[in-house]
């Protein structure tokens, strides 16, 4: 058995390039962009620290963290959904990020409880509308809650309830109004759909442009991508036809979700991990990231990409703790199932 | 001298009805025996049990005074040195004729010549490089016989070997094979439903009916 063990171990270590280098940082991420490589190369150039990446589905990576336990090589967990951050924290895999410079630039509601994770970029879930079929009066001061009103019957496009952005939105409503009230809202909201929920966020924007629906709920950065022309002429044309509205400006503000990251409790390179997060939250990098992703920056002195900024900056953001999205996410799904939101 | 001895042999497929019931049989060295009976009487099962392809429920089989199988113990077919030719010949389709014949011959430098010799005996030496599907049914049967005899088995078992052939081909092969078996002094057990064929080929006839040896005719 002993020989057999040794053989297996030698064999696997030959095949499996074990991570024993001193200067590196291991990142489990469910956020992927074209420019990631350039960003990591820049970090390595600046600090001499090599960035190792496993990108994958957020929930699956959490499961990998769980079974790897204290042997996990991961230093950083990076994801595009606050719910997953909440989940990792609840499992107790994160530790506090001890960095004064991070604390000084990131507002408290964009940091996790006990500073165990931090937002890297943010996005708003906004209303897109077709100015041809929606009047100024209708759109003025429109809130998420208003969308349950009968005047919107057959006019709303939104994707399926399997989508985490919708789940987070409903979770934030639960956090503010409680389950019962939110459920009553959702029951009416669902009857206002223009079509069965289908397709991506961008498909909803296209539906509004084509007149299949009058308004759509989708994330803010998609319009930026569509306007950039990177996703084709059809989408560019469609994007030009719609306008963006920030809901709930006269009360708690527009629903915000984040891309965020935290440092793992068993992180073998936590010094490097802190350096990496500080790097992501530095001015140049923030500017670089939002110019590619069309998200909103975390730092006040960085502007979003011009095409996104043109729809308005400095809108009022919902200060509901993003950690609540995770907490109420299971409730949100059950609620959507009950109300027949497919 | 007795070469094959079967005692109190029973065989059942479903633990209720016997396919073979209390078979007792002994066959002498160099003897050609035909087993006759209607289809479904159990004669093929008997052959398969002797070959070791089927294991009997009860009873003992001895070859050359040595037990090759009983209730507790059984020598697998590949170690019994028994040759078998079945009705559909079962030539290996991926091997040519000569390699089919060589297949069963154990390590032997003279393999090739030995096989050639047997093809010669059965008058199919010119087919050596052909593949089974390229030759006729009668030729296939000759090759199958050559293949079964080439490893020098103690006993040769033939299961309805000529039934798929037409009459003239049949009688031609009857004459030839009987001559060859006798020349080589082979012990042969033939399963047949053709009484004339059995009478012509063999020294002795055994009748089986409903899984039992019957003393008839």
């Amino acid at each position: 058995m002993n020989k057999f063990q040794k053989l297996i171990i030698t064999l696997t270590t030959i095949i499996f390039s074990a991570s024993a280098l001193a200067s590196e940082v291991n990142v489990y991420t469910s956020r992927h962009y074209d420019s990631d490589d350039a960003l990591y190369a820049e970090f390595t150039k600046k600090t001499g620290i090599k960035v190792n990446i496993i990108s994958g589905n957020g929930s699956a990576l959490i499961e990998r963290l769980r079974v790897e336990g204290k042997n996990s090589p991961a230093d950083i967990y990076f994801t595009v959904d606050a719910g997953n951050l909440w989940k990792v924290q609840k499992e107790g895999y994160f530790k506090a990020i001890n960095s004064e410079s991070i604390k000084s630039v990131v507002p408290e509601n964009l940091r996790g409880p006990n500073d165990e994770w931090v937002a890297i970029a943010k996005r708003a879930r906004v209303i897109y509308y077709n100015p041809k079929s929606v009047t100024k009066n209708e759109i003025n001061n429109l809130s998420y809650e208003d969308l349950a009103e009968p005047e919107w019957k057959g006019r709303i496009a939104i994707r399926s309830s399997s989508n985490m952005y919708n789940q987070s939105l409903v979770a934030s409503l639960i956090s503010n109004h409680g389950i019962e009230k939110t459920e009553n809202w959702a029951k009416k909201f669902v009857t206002n759909f223009a079509r069965n929920p289908q397709g991506s966020d961008r498909a909803q924007i296209v539906a509004v442009a084509n007149g299949e629906a009058d308004i759509a709920i989708a994330n803010s950065y998609y319009i930026g991508i569509m306007l950039s022309g990177k996703s084709g002429n059809d989408q560019l044309e469609a994007a030009k036809k719609v306008k963006m509205h920030f809901p709930n400006q006269d009360n708690r503000g527009t629903h915000i979700n984040i891309s965020g990251a935290g440092i793992l409790k068993n992180s073998p390179n936590s010094e490097n991990a802190i350096k990496f997060l500080e790097f992501l939250l530095s001015e140049d990098v923030q500017q670089y990231m939002v110019n590619i992703s069309f998200e909103y920056p975390i730092l006040d002195n960085v502007d979003p990409h011009a095409s996104i900024a043109s729809f308005g900056v400095g809108f009022k953001e919902d200060r509901t703790s993003v950690a609540d999205y995770g907490k109420y996410n299971p409730d949100a799904i059950r609620l959507m199932d009950r109300t027949g939101w497919k | 001298m007795t070469i094959l001895e079967i005692k109190n042999l029973h065989h059942t497929y479903d633990n209720e009805n016997y396919a073979l019931e209390d078979i007792n049989l002994s066959i002498n060295d160099g003897e050609i025996v035909s087993i006759l009976g209607p289809s479904g009487c159990g004669k093929t099962t008997l052959l398969r049990v002797i070959a070791g392809l089927e294991r009997q429920s009860k009873g003992t089989i001895k070859i050359n005074e040595q037990i090759i199988s009983n209730e507790k113990f059984m020598i697998p077919p590949e170690k019994r040195s028994i040759g078998l030719v079945v009705q559909d010949k079962a030539l290996f389709p991926h091997l040519n004729v000569i390699n089919n014949v060589i297949f069963g011959i154990q390590k032997n430098k003279e393999k090739y010549n030995l096989a050639k010799n047997y093809l010669d005996i059965f008058k199919v030496e010119e087919l050596a490089d052909k593949y089974p599907h390229e030759i006729s049914g009668g030729e296939q049967q000759r090759v199958a016989l050559a293949r079964a005899m080439a490893p020098h088995p103690n006993i040769l078992l033939l299961d309805e070997p000529f039934s798929a052939l037409d009459q003239s081909l049949k009688s031609e092969l009857h004459h030839e094979t009987k001559k060859i078996f006798k020349e080589k002094g082979l012990t042969v057990v033939i399963v047949s439903h053709d009484k004339d064929e059995a009478k012509f080929l063999s020294d002795r006839l055994i009748y089986i009916e409903d899984g039992k040896i019957s003393p008839q005719k």
Partner: protein, 513 residues
């Protein structure tokens, strides 16, 4: 590991699922299975019958081109389908442009529904049925077909009264693969927003953070599949389908001319058009317009990884399937029979769930058996290959099962009386006769692994990319235009084994030199 979840506790979420969504999951999944089964059977058997029975212009091309859609992962066809047929997609815009119609005119019906999904799965998965039917048709005896004609049956009657029933066991094997792949798929049904059992599994896990209930849902799916397999096996036992003869006469082809030839060509061409030409054309258009820079050294590395991994996994998988099937035939071990059925189920498990099950299994092995403080199996190539083998065992197994069925047991008997058994029998008789099966299963597994994504995502080592990973990274954020380039690469790399496969089957018609 997944099944073990059934023994655990049941959370409150079950009551919720039962009350509100389970009926939807079950009915949608059933509709999908029934629709895909019927359509893929129709496409697979009819095209196979045409190319094996008739001879006409373009037949040689169709014979291998019909396998091409195997290179298209269902989710990629789903993406390109919507790009093409959506209300304002390429096809509808085109029709509007030609007839200068109003914006509100929509020619092609909405395909983001269960019918669309049935079409997507059928046109990407029918090659599994085509492959087995084709070889079964080629192997059926000419005399039987001639007997049919003498009895006054028309060509069409021969097809459905004689040929079809006789190839049934082979076809059912192929159909099982189609069904298993359909129910385990997540990408395509999610894109069409159809709530199936598998999307339910992910919803429960990702959204309700309830992995246990998700695993239990997956287990129910597995039990369903297992029951199905079992019923099929029992019903098959009653009839003996192996033809007794070990020799073979090739069936003579009937020559078709003019319009008949044209119709045959057309019928066989449709599946290729929808399952392969359409998606790859759309992808090429996207790639050329938006992302050619993908083809750099990183791409080469990912392609190398993909090829090496898939071939290693395929050879191992085929060898294991061969040995298990041999031991079932030769030794009649009940255990091997069970093991084979059990491993086959891996194909029906949604990839990500399977991956998680394997991660848990590895963690157990790492901690309890290897007693080593470093993680060994998790995040290693060995682990990845292991996962691929479990995922694609069913593919290799089905090829060998039908391969072994075609070898008359008389050959085994003869070989044994000729002093050959065990390894000797395997290597001298079965392996040469199963050469085609062996290569077929290697190639089928290769093309499956090339497409495989979820297990790769979670089990891979750091900085290790395959082509499917590269596609996912874009597609996950709905950037299909950027995903087009790596998606084309997947299809192209997937083509290599398929072209080899077709070369092989056309050169090695059973027993004819």
């Amino acid at each position: 590991m997944v099944l073990a979840s059934l023994l655990g506790d049941y959370s409150d979420n079950w009551a919720h699922l039962y009350d509100y969504v389970l009926v939807d999951y079950i009915s949608n999944t059933l509709y999908l299975i029934i629709g895909v089964s019927l359509l893929s059977l129709l496409i697979g058997t009819v095209t196979a019958w045409i190319v094996t029975t008739y001879d006409f212009f373009g037949k040689r091309f169709l014979e291998w081109a019909l396998i091409l859609p195997l290179a298209t992962p269902p989710y990629i066809l789903a993406y390109t389908f919507t790009g093409f047929f959506d209300a304002f997609g390429t096809a509808n815009n085109f029709i509007r442009d030609i007839f200068s119609l109003d914006q509100s005119f929509i020619f092609f019906p909405n395909i983001r529904n269960i019918y669309g999904a049935v079409i997507v799965f059928s046109f990407t998965l029918y090659p599994y049925i085509y492959l087995v039917s084709r070889s079964a048709f080629l192997n059926q005896s000419r005399s039987m077909l001639e007997a049919g004609r003498m009895l006054g049956l028309s060509q069409f009657e021969i097809f459905y009264k004689l040929s079809l029933p006789i190839i049934r066991p082979a076809v059912i094997g192929g159909l099982m693969l189609v069904i298993m792949e359909t129910i385990s798929d997540f990408g395509a049904v999610d894109h069409f927003a159809i709530q199936t059992f598998t999307t339910g599994v992910f919803r429960t896990w990702h959204g309700m953070y309830d992995l246990k209930t998700a695993m239990q849902l997956a287990s129910i799916l597995l039990i369903f599949v297992a029951t199905f397999v079992w019923i099929e096996k029992i019903s098959r036992k009653k009839a003996l389908y192996t033809s007794g003869t070990s020799t073979f006469k090739p069936t003579k082809k009937i020559k078709l001319l003019k319009y008949k030839a044209f119709i045959s060509f057309f019928i066989c061409f449709i599946p290729i058009l929808i399952g392969f030409i359409l998606p790859i054309t759309e992808l090429i258009i996207w790639a050329i317009s938006y992302n050619l820079s993908f083809f750099n050294e990183k791409f080469l590395l990912a392609a190398m990884n993909t090829i090496l991994l898939s071939i290693t996994a395929a050879v191992l998988c085929a060898s294991i399937a061969l040995i298990i099937n041999f031991s079932i035939r030769f030794k009649k071990y009940r255990f091997s029979n069970f093991l084979s059925s059990f491993l086959s189920l891996g194909y029906a498990v949604p990839g990500l769930i399977l991956a998680v099950g394997i991660v848990q299994l590895f963690a157990l092995i790492d901690q309890n058996i290897l007693f080593n403080s470093d993680i060994i199996l998790t995040g290693s190539i060995v682990g990845l290959i292991f996962a691929y083998i479990i995922k694609s065992y069913a593919l290799a197994n089905s090829t060998f099962e039908s391969g072994f069925q075609r070898i008359s047991t008389n050959l085994d008997d003869s070989a044994r009386t000729l002093k050959s058994s065990g390894w000797n029998l395997l290597s001298r008789v079965h392996l040469p006769l199963l050469k085609t099966s062996f290569l077929t299963s290697i190639l089928m597994v290769t093309s499956e692994v090339v497409k495989e994504l979820p297990a790769t995502l979670i089990l891979r080592p750091f900085n290790f990319d395959t082509l499917a990973v590269a596609t996912y990274i874009y597609a996950a954020e709905e950037r299909m235009f950027q995903a087009a380039a790596p998606a084309i690469a997947i299809m192209l790399v997937g083509l290599i084994p398929i072209i080899l496969l077709t070369k092989m089957i056309s050169s090695s018609r059973p027993m004819d030199k």
